[in-house]
């Protein structure tokens, strides 16, 4: 197929005198025009969070003693290291060292996400919808789409890198100097480029844009998790993570440039691989040819619930595997915790929680993190009805003998029950691996129970998505509000000393932090009640409204 296509394309290329990149410039301009809101918003939001951080920290930690105190807290608590970074410069914890340690790793998740979304949006999504075909039929080369998408992502990342380098350098703080700021910006931009390369590869593998961004997203998660576990212990695993490389630059402390070059080299390899894969497949196809499927539907496909399960099935299974692995990976780190139990600062922290061991308090924090990740699935699943609706597929099903309530409820069931299943699997992975590592069998039950206690918060988060779908389908982005808020609170709540009411808005803050804390039923009952109200409102709203295509 490929060779024929190349041969057929050759004369055209010769007559126009150009090759597979023909039209890249025009496509790049077109992409930038399509993203004229999107990219500036991403760049400005990420840039401002980072550039405004030094001033915030000057307020929070006005003296060197305050900063050294924070350094001691981090140094003594591997859970903090898992969340933040390897801790370069903790012995002289300047504002610069704080930025590199406490902001960079977390921010890079979003930088990577921006790159992945840009690249997939301009490659696989275009192919999947058939728009690329329309464009390719004009004087546009085979690799023009991929190249233009990568250049679009590069534009965004370079702009972000420059904004951060200049913004930080111009802040005029002693420890945040210009050489460090340039490296800081470069670490941002290059890590973004690397994940653009990751997305360029995943976009070639599957014919679906959702799988492409899903695979790349999983790799972002893996990169963060690898460095989290690595930074708690002997940092070997951190060297497997591109986010770990960016942190290995030790910006504002040692200013090492070579990890950035390493990342750049890997990005180049990824991009080359993407071009190679692109050259070996047809327009619109994945790497493997589409196989023939079943000629008839199995019996359970004929029920609304069976049908919903069929649509969510592979997603649930992949998530379950990923959550089990996440849990196992974190659980294997418990032995590191024991080494810290002599530390004075740690003992103080634990006394604040009350009676728990350091391992328990660390486990309860990891459980909260895992619960939030499980909630991402539930929100995505709860939003599936909206995707079915806008794609025009809901219309076909709802013109049969299925009521709107049953149809929506079957998806909601998957969202809520699937989320519970993921909590179970994540808790099992964490508990089993913690028990095996430490030799304390009680962790299995304790951790599982503690993880399942997060179900009401997860249901409330998904319930908001259902309510938005039923009542405000055109503002579907609001469905993510609770989850995003929860992520911000869990990360910045501790670092920025935010007021309690802001923390209280996150449902996850009301879950008893077992095994460190005792079980309390009332907050869970309230969260479940709120979740039920939101789901009911969503169902009622959907029954009353028009089916819309946009």
């Amino acid at each position: 197929m490929t060779t024929t296509a190349t041969r057929a394309a050759a004369p055209t290329a010769r007559t126009s005198g150009r090759g597979p990149l023909t039209g890249t410039g025009k496509l790049l301009r077109f992409n930038l025009r399509r993203d004229r809101i999107r990219i500036p918003v991403w760049v400005a939001a990420l840039g401002l969070v980072q550039v405004s951080a030094p001033a915030t920290y000057q307020g929070l930690y006005p003296t060197a003693a305050d900063r050294m105190n924070q350094a001691a807290v981090i140094d003594g608590n591997p859970a903090m290291k898992a969340m933040t970074g390897p801790g370069h410069g903790l012995d002289n914890y300047t504002y610069g060292a704080m930025m590199a340690n406490e902001y960079l790793g977390f921010m890079l998740i979003f930088v990577a996400l921006m790159s992945v979304l840009i690249v997939v949006r301009h490659t696989r999504t275009e192919e999947e919808t058939g728009r690329a075909e329309l464009v390719r039929a004009n004087v546009v080369g085979r690799h023009a789409h991929l190249t233009a998408a990568l250049l679009t992502a590069a534009t965004a990342n370079v702009a972000l890198g420059l904004l951060i380098a200049v913004g930080m350098g111009a802040a005029g703080i002693e420890s945040i100097d210009w050489p460090g700021s340039l490296l800081f910006g470069a670490a941002y931009a290059v890590t973004g480029l690397l994940f653009a390369g990751v997305a360029a590869v995943t976009a070639q593998i599957s014919p679906f844009s959702r799988s492409a961004s899903g695979m790349a997203g999983a790799l972002i998660g893996l990169a963060y998790a690898l460095r989290a576990v690595g930074d708690m212990g002997d940092d070997t695993l951190s060297w497997l993570s591109p986010i770990g490389w960016a942190q290995a630059t030790a910006v504002y402390v040692n200013n090492r440039w070579w990890p950035v070059l390493l990342a750049l080299a890997v990005a180049a390899v990824l991009v080359a691989a993407a071009y190679r894969l692109r050259g070996h497949r047809d327009e619109g196809a994945g790497l493997r040819a589409e196989r023939a499927g079943a000629a008839t539907g199995s019996a359970w496909l004929g029920t609304p619930q069976g049908f919903a399960w069929r649509l969510h099935r592979s997603s649930v299974l992949w998530w379950a595997v990923a959550m089990f692995l996440f849990g196992t990976m974190y659980g294997s780190a418990v032995d590191v915790m024991e080494e810290y139990s002599d530390n004075e600062v740690v003992r103080q922290i634990i006394e604040n929680i009350g009676g728990a061991t350091i391992t328990e308090s660390w486990l309860s924090m990891i459980i909260g993190l895992l619960a939030i990740i499980c909630s991402i699935f539930s929100v995505i699943a709860a939003l599936r009805p909206r995707r079915e609706e806008t794609a025009g597929r809901a219309e076909s099903v709802l013109s049969t003998g299925v009521s709107r309530i049953r149809w929506l409820a079957s998806h909601v069931t998957i969202s809520l029950a699937g989320g519970l299943l993921l909590l179970l699997v994540a808790g099992l992975g964490l508990g089993l691996s913690a028990a095996a590592t430490s030799g304390e069998g009680r962790y299995v039950g304790d951790v599982l129970w503690a993880t399942l206690a997060y179900a009401p918060a997860l249901w409330l988060t998904a319930g908001l998505a259902v309510a938005v779908f039923g009542l405000l389908p055109r503002a579907i982005g609001l469905a993510w509000a609770l989850l995003i808020w929860a992520v911000l609170m869990i990360y910045f709540g501790g670092l920025l000393d935010l007021p309690q009411w802001m923390l209280n808005l996150s449902p996850y803050m009301h879950i008893p932090r077992m095994p460190a804390e005792d079980f309390t039923a009332i907050p869970l009952a309230i969260l479940m009640l709120l979740a039920a109200v939101l789901v009911a409102a969503g169902l009622a709203g959907f029954r009353r409204r028009d089916l819309t295509a946009t």
Partner: protein
Amino acid sequence: MTIAISASGLVKRFGRTVALDGLDLQVATGEVHGFLGPNGAGKTTTIRILLGLLRADSGQTSLLGGDPWSDAVSLHRRLAYVPGDVNLWPNLTGGEAIDLLGRLRGGLDKERRAELLQRFDLDPTKKGRTYSKGNRQKVALIAALASDVELLLLDEPTAGLDPLMEVVFQEYIKEAKAAGKTVLLSSHILAQVEKLCDKISIIRRGKIVQSGTLAELRHLTRTTIEADTTHPAAGLRDLPGVHNLRIEDHRIRFAVDGEHLDTAIRALSQLGVRSLTSQPPTLEELMLRHYGDELQTDGGRPAEVTP
């Protein structure tokens, strides 16, 4: 005669756009009813209201004796719908989609399903995303035709089908009619409507502008007459309802309004007719009569079409 579909004074607005502006539609049980009109006239909106997917802002609707909005589920078991733009699930095969839709509707006939697959020449093992537009349409058609229902709501069901499949489709619609089923067929293909439909409604800007049998509609418009006469035919010019009269020696050609056809033919017979052809108005002419002014306004502004 019982009424399968009845709508009166339907109004539906989307923001500032008025999609339906007091639409009246009646379809008798056992009738194949053609629903004609250009894109954006309100055909799909009407059908989606009949399915209870949209709620009308005002007006009354009755479908198979029930209310399309509040009785949606029980009504849907008695009807099948083929959307104009069929979207399938990317990772479900065509066969699975047919079974899914058929079963959710309340079951489908296996033998008939196999026969339809063969007649429409569809490979049911392919995944939804690999089907062409025509094949996606076949999936929805087979799912609809394999169900035993009283009413078929078809929204431009053959827009992507080739002429051979068009013939197969027409056979099945005739068969459905013979079995006493009611069909509402929205279409652009006038030849299809002429062949299949007992009655026709023409919709324009959210209103039905004409409704009736093809014969009735023809009566409302002009028949073209061509004749060779032995005597000069100048006198015809003064007859009522005669238009565009052209006379070349003994050949005459004119169009005459349906209601004055009789008078014109009587007058003609006085002139010694040597040969006579009469052409009934085509559906195109019927449509043009209602939409001609739009074509003219569009034609008057060519600058907007080409850059």
